[in-house]
Symmetry: D2
Subunit: 330 residues, 4 copies
Amino acid sequence: MIGIGVIGAGRIGRIHAGNVAASGRARLVAVSDALESAAASLADELGTKATTRGAILADPTVGAVLICSPTDTHADFIEEAVQAGKAVFCEKPVDLSSERIRACLATVEKTGKALMIGFNRRFDPNFAEAKARIVAGEIGKVELVTILSRDPGPPPIEYVKRSGGLFRDMMIHDLDMARFLLGEDPVEVHAVASCLVDPAIGQAGDVDTAAVLLKTASGKIAQISNSRRATYGYDQRLEIHGAKGLVRAQNVPLTTVETANSHGFRSDPVLPFFLERYAAAYRAELSAFLDCIEKGVAPSPSGMDGLKAQILADAATESATSGRPVHPIY
Amino acid sequence: MIGIGVIGAGRIGRIHAGNVAASGRARLVAVSDALESAAASLADELGTKATTRGAILADPTVGAVLICSPTDTHADFIEEAVQAGKAVFCEKPVDLSSERIRACLATVEKTGKALMIGFNRRFDPNFAEAKARIVAGEIGKVELVTILSRDPGPPPIEYVKRSGGLFRDMMIHDLDMARFLLGEDPVEVHAVASCLVDPAIGQAGDVDTAAVLLKTASGKIAQISNSRRATYGYDQRLEIHGAKGLVRAQNVPLTTVETANSHGFRSDPVLPFFLERYAAAYRAELSAFLDCIEKGVAPSPSGMDGLKAQILADAATESATSGRPVHPIY
Amino acid sequence: MIGIGVIGAGRIGRIHAGNVAASGRARLVAVSDALESAAASLADELGTKATTRGAILADPTVGAVLICSPTDTHADFIEEAVQAGKAVFCEKPVDLSSERIRACLATVEKTGKALMIGFNRRFDPNFAEAKARIVAGEIGKVELVTILSRDPGPPPIEYVKRSGGLFRDMMIHDLDMARFLLGEDPVEVHAVASCLVDPAIGQAGDVDTAAVLLKTASGKIAQISNSRRATYGYDQRLEIHGAKGLVRAQNVPLTTVETANSHGFRSDPVLPFFLERYAAAYRAELSAFLDCIEKGVAPSPSGMDGLKAQILADAATESATSGRPVHPIY
Amino acid sequence: MIGIGVIGAGRIGRIHAGNVAASGRARLVAVSDALESAAASLADELGTKATTRGAILADPTVGAVLICSPTDTHADFIEEAVQAGKAVFCEKPVDLSSERIRACLATVEKTGKALMIGFNRRFDPNFAEAKARIVAGEIGKVELVTILSRDPGPPPIEYVKRSGGLFRDMMIHDLDMARFLLGEDPVEVHAVASCLVDPAIGQAGDVDTAAVLLKTASGKIAQISNSRRATYGYDQRLEIHGAKGLVRAQNVPLTTVETANSHGFRSDPVLPFFLERYAAAYRAELSAFLDCIEKGVAPSPSGMDGLKAQILADAATESATSGRPVHPIY
């Protein structure tokens, strides 16, 4: 069984570390965090050891690392890890600068080590099944993709300020999903955005409501909408139209219970946020990463997928600001 | 075009007369009612004439009559009409006494005239489609039928007193539907019933909540439940299980609109009562009756279907009263 | 009862004339058509008379006309009719040239006669209910509108050539709906479009798949997608997000029947095309027009609504062609 | 943390032992099985020890046992365990003889130890939520309960022969659920049953398709239907009608993905069988048992619930055989 080190013991690091521990396929060797107490607490909970990043990278029993530290450390840590001979799974985004990502990927390539990027939604059982049906030809050639993604509420303003903006922080997932579903890179990006949910977000220079229109070279179209507000849960849906029909993935409700009275029928809100909605996705994502290591499968989403999503997020940011479409260069 | 006379200008007579007038396939020659003003008002509305039942039966331009008068007149009027050479459509039930029905059907048979009974639900587009899929073999051999039927609210107590009781007045429709879906006659009837909705119904000697369990000779099973109360509209559903799968027909909502907020998703109540839910069924029923006349198709539901449903309603009434199963003899 | 003349006895003229005849609120005085036999056949069917447009306009018993003739006659016929003192209902669009529409509306204004434009979808019971819930404040302030509209299949190429293009022929309905739901005029229009369904449409200079992104001055956003293909019926949906929740209107299925087997659950395709889906909308639309005449209510959709939708359709056409956003001037 | 011993390492024992190990609330001290290798294999997998039942009962660190052995050992093992001072969770049924259950419960009562019975469905999040809404008064006083339960396919014939028959083996869950939802004991039981799925089941003296009608002293009604066949997954639904409305719990689909084409819309089969459908229920059930031990809450479902369900299953068996209703005495 491969030994795994987890770098970063925050919210997402805890999810991945827990999944490693319960996987039955890999051994959780150690966890590290800039905040020692966070690493210690997580290690204690999972029956593993807390140590430093350096020690993890130096440990020959560690075959792979999961990078779950803050965004501005991702590119450096990826480079250190591949140079230390580890396979790497890194949470999105690789970096907020696409130039930095390009340099990082070049370094990775030289080492020949595997790098997989954490676009977890590709592994959601519902979205993965939708993709599988497209691949199986059930709807014919893809023509139009619609992705809707709404957070239950806005993040803290401090988070917003460091986030790179809605397109790079939130919509980047949907931009990756659009590429995943279109099977082709967008060449034209139109974005509009507003601050309608919380004026403080606008004062911080960001937006909270946005929509994007994408077009590929062959003429396929994608629409994405985002909002930092959804009163009925974490809204995550997609619908794809092809020459032969449509496939769509709906939300997952809290329960299947309905009540009816003179006001009609009431069914449940959808799962509240990503921890609940994407619990299975995080497990499947880890499993896919372990497949890469064990079977030599090419990592997917790859570093290049991470770069292209970032380029699209930059393009959307620029379009929303300038009011003009942007033609991304990958 | 065949000439039609409508006998009875009450609520159901008005529906049928209006459908004849708008059918484009038959001519509404005249309407009659024991209450002259009711006939006059309906005739005026539809641009036809009001007359007496006798005049309708004597009119050689009338080829068929629709009997929509009170239940206790049905058997007599059917006999008069077939003896006058008319094809007859009669609202259910033929009579509250199965002996009287047998005698009436014997008279009809002697004349060779067509008699069709108004079990309108067989013509509901949803229920008819469910039946068509059974006939097409989509679910294999039928094993278990569940029928649910709930009125939005109890009828007036005066109506209850004359109705023959819930099994003969309300469940008779579901008993006919069970035979229609099972494709076989029940040989064992278990019924339980209560007065839970309105004590006045109990004081009038009737029940308002009931369920029946039916078994056929080959072992097929049907369940029926009825209530005189449904806060969310007129609840009319059925589900049939066969060897290869299930088919079911759901209710029809007022609109397809949904709203969502922190309480979840709210969709509309279902169509409020039979006038709305079965509007299309009444039109299709008339069309089927005209097919009988024009094409010589055997009427369905037939007088025998009317008799058998009545026998089952009697059996259910007896079972609910005695607490013992009843084995109906047709 | 007001007397109505119907000008144009083609597909849509037949619908409106039939609805007038069955309305019980207005008298169908006469129908006309450039093709005399079309008018004669419709008149015969509905028990009214066929005549010329001139005779209709000269008839003092005609209080209002419904203009259902080809698009290029609309503006002229509107002007003639209002100058003849008639209230006018005119099918969309008023004209393919927004300048011609402006001139026509100026003429109408001078006469003070009522002019209502046939954006029938505002009267669909589902869409009207969605709007009513917005107006009632159920979802708070509107933030994001998504409209999806897909025809079951492409129209004949000859129709496409004369149609003014997908944005003016098909999406104009959705652009009007966006204004209706946003409660505000878009000031920024981004459009992308492709020919993915039928190469002959591209050869005719048109597109068959398109999406538009709209933004209003206050920052509200709307997304529209259109396709000339939908294998599962006529797809007509909308979803509106506001500060307090969402409201959406789904399609109407053929029946409520479902079957289940090892492949899962199958429910029906949606109503096949506009005649079925919007049958109730056309009746409600006529009823609204009669309300204008009888009660002096201001017509809605108004001529100005017709103009603004046309301006948006022009803007979308220009944006899709130029690849740049357009800022419409109303 | 309380120490737990698991007696029986078959399919259901493995589920419960795994849940104890992962609970974070209890310590899995040991597992035993008549088949030593089964216990050894499970112990190895969960990092605990395999031992004998005697050793578990003698171990002072074991505070509670989970009895997951064959049905015919349940009553004996319960008695041994409570006499050894352990709290007991026992899989349903306590015994196939209601007399033996009564004797067993008397023994339990003398020891004062907690006994909880494994009617897992009460803990399904959907069914538990339905019950919670009834308790909260959302539908008013309960009037009519409908429970549907269909296995995906028949069990092995050897299992059927030892099972006590469909009513005691399968419907006992639904009979418990009926009591749970009615909040009252049935006093009248009508059952019908057939062998429609597999003739071998009939040859073994059992049935595979059955329906029951229950009535309580206050007039509440319950309907249950069972089949050993469902091509679209493990069908587990319930619907409760009350004075103010209905509450129902639907199945859980494999995914939320739908496809549409000219045949209509296809959604997924439901979860395949109890391991998937009731995974969360088994965890919640264990949690409730631990609550009993830790907080002294009275166990629910109790031994008396186990007895009453068995009495109802006996009554249904007798009714289906005799063709007469049975009035159970508890």
